[in-house]
Symmetry: C2
C-alpha cells in the first residue's frame, strides 16, 4: 500500500553491510532480539515491540544472534541488500513467492 | 519514513464516512476490536494482531464500540476524514503535537 510492502520475516545470523540510497527501512521486532549495526560505530538493539527506521543512505547490517521475528516496512523498490550481492540476498520476486 | 507516518492512536465511537482519494490507509489493531464499515454494504472486523488496508478512493467508516488501540500507516498527506469535516476531525498538526 502506498508503494510500501509490509513484510513478515524470520532472521537468523548476520546479513551484510549495505545501504538503500533512496529508501528508508523500518524494522519492528515481534519476537527475539535484533541488533542493527550502523555506520559511525553505532548499534541499536531491538526487543519485541520495538522498532527502528534506518534512514535512506545509511550503511547498516542486521544481526540476529538467535532467530528473530520481524515486520519490515519497505518501499517496493527496496533491494534486499542494496547494491551488495551476497549468498543470503533474496530478490523481491522470491520474497513474495518463496520457493 | 518514505513519506509515511506510523501513528499510534486510541479510538472510541464512530468516526464518519469518508475516503482518501490518493492514499491507501493501513489499520493494525493492538487491542480491542475495530469495525471498519466499507462501501458496498461490507464490513471488516479486526481483533488484536489483525490488519486491513483501505485502498485509496474507497469510502469507509471506522467504528470502535469500545476503546481500541491501533497503529495506522498513512501517507503524510492523508487528511483524517478526507474531504469531510466533523467535530472529531483531527488535523495532522494536532495529531503530531496533541494539546
Amino acid at each position: 500500500m502506498n508503494d510500501q510492502y509490509v513484510k513478515v520475516a524470520k532472521l537468523l545470523g548476520e546479513l551484510v553491510w549495505h545501504a538503500h540510497d533512496q529508501e528508508d527501512e523500518m524494522f519492528l521486532v515481534v519476537y527475539g532480539t535484533l541488533r542493527i549495526q550502523l555506520e559511525g560505530d553505532r548499534e541499536v538493539s531491538l526487543s519485541a515491540g520495538e522498532f527502528f527506521v534506518v534512514p535512506k543512505g545509511v550503511q547498516h547490517n542486521p544481526v540476529a544472534d538467535e532467530e528473530v521475528g520481524v515486520v519490515l516496512i519497505e518501499t517496493v523498490t527496496t533491494a534486499h541488500t542494496g547494491s551488495v550481492q551476497v549468498e543470503g540476498t533474496v530478490p523481491i520476486e522470491r520474497q513474495i513467492a518463496p520457493e
